[in-house]
Amino acid sequence: MTEEPKSSLPPPAPAPPKPAAPAKPAGPVPVPWTSALAEKYQARHGSSLEALTYLGQNYFVVDRSLIPGMLQLLRDEDQFDYCVDITAVHYPKREKQFDVLWVLYSFVRNERIRVKTQIADGESLPSVVRIWPTANWLEREVYDMFGIKFDGHPDLKRILLPDGWKGHPLRKDYSILQQDQEWVQINLGIESGQ
């Protein structure tokens, strides 16, 4: 170890205290969504539905009981004939752990909305395959990744992961390094799994 050269400067004076950082401006928050569409459904369903807007994007937060009736109405009466996406988010610390949402688009109105509902772990949702056939694979992926079952789906089985896989990867309690060791050992012949 070489000796550190001794500095010939006097030790620096203690720095003056920094001024307090200015308070951050409040970020955007969801605000109520006002439009004919929102009012129609609010009038219809009252407290089991909330219509909000965040950063210009409109969405409904609905009770589970409204599915699939409201979705059917959205397609039939309000021309939301294109189901863009069905997905879910897992909030393990919440009582109702899963947020399942449907992103819908109407060509005629050129409007995109989301419908969000919250369900608990183990609850299942009715499938919307009869409303939008595109939901077939989209719901299978939600089931594959989160374990949320959809009643009435014609063929609810895993789509991206192998059929015998155990575990639902996109849940928050599934670690990113985790694998179904048993499946890997049996099917790939790899012992360690890593």
């Binding site: 955007p28 965040y54 950063l55 863009v84 996406d85 009869r130 694979w137 014609p154 996109l170 990113i176």
Partner: protein
């Protein structure tokens, strides 16, 4: 076959139990186009149920290329996740990057500066042309015309050279950053892009000369893989497949992003929704892209190329869905932020995944040789289907 009228019958999966074992003397045969097949454009397994040579039903088995991109998104910061999105639709990596960066910018409530938007548009449209060129070459090869493949790849090289000069990579470009573009355009960028526009226009004519009026091509692609507009919308199919069925919808016009409303271009549509129309629509889209690039490259404004975004990106709590018109269809990103530096949930809505669902409808009643043509015309990339 109207899927909306009878969704169950139209889309039920194969009844595999009753006809498990293939024999030649029974009426039905199950053939497996295995994950490794020269015509499936990646690792896709298609199980065909045939009556002689006619297809009764298909089942796609996907997931061979599943890499858990969405899970990775929850474990990387917003900036670190940017290179991962290129790897999904690796053929059109720039579009993926554009979608992701714009979604995060929406979350942050920042706008990319105009100069960045112009550069983004130029690169994205060049990428669209490159993706369509690759599609054309492989699709023609599947149907038996081996020469267009080499012509399109030769022309695609020039685009990849431009990308390489701009950001250092040809295929998985990572061209954009959250807030704009990291790199300024290199010296000679405008000139090279303009040269390419001059270079490509007669070559698109060359591709069309080989195929568009060729009797054999017409016989192989007309009335093959027809999907009606109603079925397409019900199945969520987007992109050139939807436009070829007659629905004039393009996100660049319907919900413009990145300043697309400043450019003047048409949306080509088809009438019949068959393979030939999809071919024509994509050829026309290439020409429209050339138009957009010409307008963009002639008017790149001066200014900063990157907006002021903090070094550590921490969007406020909330969720946002944003989609762009990728070459394959509507590519959407749904990002949930919990206020930390890592996304809480990144959901990618892949166009190829949803388009591939339509394969079953499109090949009913066709012959085995047509299945290959239809898979080609859907223009799927397994990286995007499986993520």
């Amino acid at each position: 076959m109207n899927a909306q009228a009878d969704p169950e019958n139209a889309l039920t999966n194969l009844d595999l139990e009753t006809s498990e074992r293939p024999h030649l003397d029974s009426n039905e045969l199950i053939i497996n186009m295995g994950p490794q097949h020269p015509a499936t454009h990646g690792v896709l397994r298609v199980i065909l149920r045939l009556d002689g040579e006619k297809v009764l039903g298909t089942e796609c088995v996907i997931g061979y290329l599943h890499r858990g991109v969405e899970k990775i998104g929850e474990n990387r910061t917003y900036t670190m996740f940017n290179p991962y999105v290129d790897r999904m639709d690796y053929v059109a990596a720039v579009s993926n990057g554009l979608g992701y960066c714009q979604t995060v910018e929406k979350l942050l409530n920042v706008e990319a500066p105009p100069r960045a938007n112009y550069v983004r548009v130029i690169l994205t449209e060049l990428n669209r042309i490159a993706s369509h060129q690759l599609w054309l070459g492989t699709h023609a090869l599947d149907i038996g015309a081996m020469t267009p493949l080499f012509y399109t790849f030769r022309d695609r090289e020039e685009i990849l050279k431009i990308f390489e000069k701009y950001c250092g990579a040809r295929l998985t470009t990572h061209a954009f950053r959250i807030g704009g573009c990291q790199y300024e355009t290199y010296r000679g960028f405008e000139k090279e892009v303009k040269n390419y526009l001059q270079y490509l226009a007669p070559h698109i004519d060359e591709y069309e000369e080989l195929l568009t009026t060729n009797r054999i091509w017409l016989e192989r692609t007309k009335k093959v893989g027809v999907i009606s507009a109603a079925d397409a919308i019900a199945l969520g199919v987007t992109g050139p497949v939807l436009r070829a069925s007659g629905v004039k919808w393009d996100i660049r016009k319907a919900q413009p992003y990145a300043n697309y409303s400043a450019f003047d271009f048409d949306i080509p549509t088809g009438e019949n929704g068959d393979t030939y129309d999809r071919y024509l629509v994509r050829m026309a889209e290439m020409r429209q892209s050339l138009r957009i690039i010409e307008q963009a490259v002639n008017g790149i404004p001066e200014g900063p190329i990157m907006a002021k975004v903090p070094k550590v990106i921490k969007p406020p709590v909330g969720e946002v869905y944003h989609s762009i018109e990728a070459p394959k269809g509507e590519l959407g990103y749904f990002i949930v932020s919990d206020g930390s530096t890592q996304p809480y949930r990144v959901r990618v809505r892949p166009p190829s995944f949803v388009n591939l669902q339509a394969l079953d409808i499109m090949v009913r009643g066709l012959l085995v040789a047509d299945v290959v043509a239809v898979i080609g015309t859907l223009d799927i990339v397994l990286g995007e289907v499986d993520r």
